[in-house]
Symmetry: C2
Subunit: 435 residues, 2 copies
Amino acid sequence: MATLLSTAQGDFEARFAELLSAKREDAPDVNETVAKIIADVRNRGDASVIELTSRFDRLDLTPDTLAFTEDEIDAACASVSDAEREALELAVQRITDYHARQMPEDAFWTDETGAGLGWRWTAVSAAGLYVPGGLASYPSSVLMNAIPARVAGVKRLDMCAPTPHGKVNPLVLMAARLAGVDTVYRIGGAQAIAAMAYGTDTINPVDKITGPGNAFVAAAKRQVFGKVGIDMIAGPSEILVIADADNDPEWLAVDLMSQAEHDESAQSILITDDPALADRTMQAVDALLGQLDRKDIAGASWRDFGAVITVRDLDEAARIADRIAAEHLELCVADPDALAAKITHAGAIFLGSWTPEAIGDYIAGPNHVLPTARSARFSSGLSVMDFLKRTTLTRMTPESLNIIGPAAECLAASEGLEAHGLSVRSRLDRLNARK
Amino acid sequence: MATLLSTAQGDFEARFAELLSAKREDAPDVNETVAKIIADVRNRGDASVIELTSRFDRLDLTPDTLAFTEDEIDAACASVSDAEREALELAVQRITDYHARQMPEDAFWTDETGAGLGWRWTAVSAAGLYVPGGLASYPSSVLMNAIPARVAGVKRLDMCAPTPHGKVNPLVLMAARLAGVDTVYRIGGAQAIAAMAYGTDTINPVDKITGPGNAFVAAAKRQVFGKVGIDMIAGPSEILVIADADNDPEWLAVDLMSQAEHDESAQSILITDDPALADRTMQAVDALLGQLDRKDIAGASWRDFGAVITVRDLDEAARIADRIAAEHLELCVADPDALAAKITHAGAIFLGSWTPEAIGDYIAGPNHVLPTARSARFSSGLSVMDFLKRTTLTRMTPESLNIIGPAAECLAASEGLEAHGLSVRSRLDRLNARK
């Protein structure tokens, strides 16, 4: 049974603060183990990766079998049903179309002094995508990570996916093929992250690593950060649904459970201005929980972290939503655009009752890798920007340097950086000597 | 004496690899100390901050004197010379103009199924800027961090700057005033980072912390990351100059030394296709080092990490430049645009011999906070984007859900996420019942 709150209660602030600060994830401290794995992969390369894969995944590999062959991927693709292949193809097309619009523009202009200023964007040369094994081996994650990289123009895109006991999800390989992944290695864990960051004889190093993973993968990503770029470290999934009276409790219940079923640490919250809808939705959740395959996971998430908050009006809902800064925000209200305009912090907004969050997990087009744990206050979901970097451009003419150079000299002097000033002065002296 | 390399040497690859991998910074491991400081500030708030400031900065404060008053800032500004004030004002104007052009656009469109898709950008609500004390207390850093935040639309912008023994650089306060900083706290170190991340009775918490600092500040930023956003952890400064024969060795020497004078760990590298220019520039550096105020720092940097590389032609220079991925790249060649087009990885490019890197440190307009230690391969300098976040938007109509929903159901089923599929199915069933 989820927590039931009302802003009309005297202790609302205290109870809401408790909800906000609930620690949903107790990641084990695996830093030392991971540091040893990374050091071993750096020292012994392929031999270390092969040994660790044998130990952790019960899979014996050689340098020649670290990567899937084209034939193996062909065979996996052939085993995918037509319906699944068509669904993946539609997803690839829509996600590609959406991300293509994110490509930023270069700029270069001449200012009033004659100086040329601007910037240009270039793609990361090589990116590596991590895909977890086992239950969380999701083809949709492959698409959401690989497509932005491809759209950005990344030249080489590799992927690591552990295959415990050699078992692999053919849809993951098909998604990799459709999204344009170059090489898929059947390795996982901290050893895969280390291999992509530092390279081995067989595995080429990359410049940026993205993708979800368990505590070992997350710790490894943090430790190789700096050597390579990484994406965010994602926490458990979250949904916040704001609903007015005109909603079907069963739709709301299934939307709430679609996050809860991910993970016992997931969080689903409903805010409504209709106490009757709150009651009916809680009943509908209970009924739904009786029948879901993943009822144990979803039930634990709902019991431990779920919440239903009744508010006086939707303005109050907007203020609370900003404090939650949810990863996913569904606005099941008559005028979702008006409500969205009152809310600042959310990873993704789903506008109106006909937009279930799950449509965004697979097929709508926007990325499903989104900021969790209130980090939507300061960060964004994955995009082509994660695979691009900006180089600023400056071109001074003698005249423009003559106009703005003295100010640079003055500030350099005030900071005690003599050579900084001299680098401007030596040029201005030449210019003035010419005159 | 810097390292002298030539691509014509048989051992060039080995020696260049050594240069690339030279560890320039040996940051002390202060993680435990910093963790204790952060925990103490979280527990005891103002009392802890005041106690630590007394111990580390020899400055006794009360909650009422943690922040500078407007009168104190007025007095500091009054002590700044007209030339310095005018130089700062010109810098503010030019940096603001440049960063205003970086503001990204919102987007929303309707696709062929009738679905509305897009995104919107919003500013981080509150940002905190760290400014080191002592020698590295640079007013230019205040401008380069504060202006992008203001341009992005950050509502509250606070700053922490330690004032050991109560000493403050009036230019830092003037820069804060000109750049629109709301409150300046006279605190520093890990305790300042902790106070900005978690808040105290007197200090409001922020959502994003940027700015340079010593090992304690860097470790504290890493530890509070997740609770708040942070910018990059900057390493020692670097410059790479590519010069053809038609250059003044004295200009090149002073440009190289303008990075070397920052820090003994800074790195200055010259690449040229003219061995005679290489020789003359090394002589000019030696002559310049005899006269610089900061000759000990610049000399140590040049001796330990400086390098001059002679190449066969500028194409070779471009390939080597990409492997260095320098923070600052000066192209002192006849056609800098053509050479720039051959280089992918650099934080900032300065085009042509009349563009000394120092002009970009202060006044040109682009940001001087740039990726170091080869991270230009995957990251960018500070910009308005660091103070903005993107929220994706999706709005399905019944018709568009009917078209693309079944593919989402199919993929949800293949991932074993039943409620995901049901959240689409429950809506489609209603739609079909209506028909």
